[in-house]
């Protein structure tokens, strides 16, 4: 009865518009993703410069007292970069760029760690640092829990430095670290504190008591007052 003509042209036009919107969305997503990668690169460059500068400063001032260096050497952005990289891996997808940045990050951590070790040897102090090995390849619930424990400790004790290494990172320097401390992927999460290796999950209480004992750390804020920002 009534004419039921289909306007195919319109179906096509709407298809083209929708496709256009799709590609615009993908473009925007890539654009912002790229910006984030760039931001990560900038932070990394900053850290690289910081470390290099600390190393140089360390060599230059070798005759001077340890007091002058101990405070300024360590790069502050290392932890921030770690959390941003982790987020990127989950949300931007494990792209080549992110995994490349992650390798670079591991390397920077090792350099930072070596520098810290050198300083503590020279000055005879015990630097408070923990090496933390985890994995993202397998579903490691305990690793997630351990990460939370370490973040809490780091918030409580700003002097404490945690270097975290993804077991699955394909980098010879990381592999060497694994070999030195004889870390096996079956025993993750694993911690290295003052050259002793702890395999498996360590509770907050135990870990806190242990590091307090050996590093004589100062708690910066009471743990109950959780709302204050520590920036």
């Amino acid at each position: 009865m009534s004419s039921n003509n289909i306007d195919w042209k319109k179906y096509l036009i709407v298809f083209l518009i929708t496709t256009g919107l799709f590609f615009t969305a993908i473009y925007l997503s890539n654009y912002f993703g790229g910006k984030k990668i760039n931001q990560l690169k900038t932070i990394q460059d900053q850290i690289a410069i910081d470390i290099l500068s600390s190393e140089t400063q360390f060599s230059l001032l070798s005759e001077l007292s340890c007091k002058n260096i101990s405070d300024s050497v360590f790069s502050k952005e290392l932890a921030e970069l770690g959390s941003k990289l982790e987020w990127s891996q989950e949300n931007l997808g494990a792209t080549e760029e992110v995994s490349y940045l992650k390798k670079y990050y591991s390397l920077l951590q090792i350099k930072d760690y070596l520098l810290a070790k050198k300083i503590s040897a020279r000055c005879g102090t015990k630097s408070a640092f923990i090496l933390y090995f985890y994995t993202t390849a397998a579903n490691c619930t305990l690793c997630e829990e351990e990460s939370l424990v370490l973040s809490t400790l780091r918030a409580k004790y700003p002097e404490l430095r945690v270097y975290s290494f993804d077991y699955s990172t394909d980098l010879s320097a990381v592999t060497s670290m694994l070999q030195i401390y004889k870390i096996k992927d079956t025993a993750l999460p694993a911690l290295v504190i003052d050259d002793s290796v702890f395999s498996g999950f360590q509770t907050l209480e135990n870990l806190e008591a242990y590091i307090k004992g050996i590093f004589k750390l100062q708690e910066v804020k009471p743990s109950t007052n959780t709302n204050t920002k520590s920036l």
């Binding site: 009534s2 039921n4 179906y11 298809f15 615009t24 997503s29 829990e145 939370l148 918030a155 520590s230």
Partner: protein, 414 residues
Amino acid sequence: MTSILNVIFYVLTFLSVYVQVFFFVTFLENRKKIVIRNGKIKLASYPSVTIVVPCWNEEETVAKTVHSLLDLDYPKDKIKIFLINDGSTDDTKNVINKFTEFPNIKVFHKENGGKFTALNLGLEKSETDFFGCLDADSFVDSDALVRIMSYFEKDSMTMAVAPAVVVHNPISIVQMAQQTDYNMGIFFKKMLGFLGAINVTPGPFTIFRKKVFNDLGPYKHAHSTEDMEIAYRMQKHNYKIENCNDAFVYTNTPETIKKLYKQRLRWIYGFLNNTLDYRSVLFKKKYGNFAFFTLPMGVISIFSVSYLFGKIVYNVGHFFYFKVLQWRAIGFDFGISNFNFDPFFINTESFVFLLVVVYVLVMFAILFGRKMAQEKNVFSLSVLYFFPIFGIIAPLWFLKAIYNTILSRKPSWR
């Protein structure tokens, strides 16, 4: 597994964007044709119309419904009103018997048999060329009939004209959410009208040429959605259905979530099952946009919303899983989750941008629908009730309707 889910997700997203863009383009094409007439409308002739009011336990609202019909701006002797008591167990019988004194009102009492049987009794008894129904929980605007009849006068091929349904006196939040839903419906139904692809001729005050029933037969049970099935049947026979966006009908809506859930479950179940019953029309060129747009769109919407719901449930589940981990690892000391805002952590997946596009277009439909419904404040904040209420509960009735459909269809698949 995740990659398959991702593909489904992006296909559904694409189709959802497509549907909204299609509506918007239809709007741009036809925007000048959307008018709301203010003055009195004069028709060349005033054909007689039978209006059936099926009543089942409607003692509270039916009198108001009948009075609204009596107040219609249309020659009194051209309106025949049939009040059909479908075996009510309350005082409906006495309430409607009082109307027998009006010369143009006839009252019938029958055993309970369901709404479609009451309508069919009305069809059987009616002698006019035009036939309509008004649910006993709804009231008509006095200009509604003459505005609808003008569509029939304009085009002799028009076989049915659906009105614009507005929520009557919304009080509860659930009703205000429905008001927004109906406002949006006014916009979408007008667009479907332009496309010749309307799939529901609502119980409140759709007027048909009697020829429709003479040719195609009476109402059917049709999974308790007889007003949907008759529209499908008309579309299958290429009978033209129009939408008269300035013929306003006010309807009472469920005031609680539970009642709303039951009503919507019936609608969606009806949609799925009528679509399955009429699956032979799907993607057939001769059935036009109804076959290529309306039905696929309905199915896509149901699956998209259900899928999105599944995704949200998964995310909420993941959030709680993480909280449990946090609690196990560090107790209730959640100090590390300080809100240090950093734009770096804003989600910039492509999906987010597409969601924004869909929401903007839906928002446009709501606001324009409100304008068409002549709501006082087009930009009312009550619009916002719609999103949480329908966003959380609609997937539940969608999923339940899908589940019920699978259960009811199971035997026929063996």
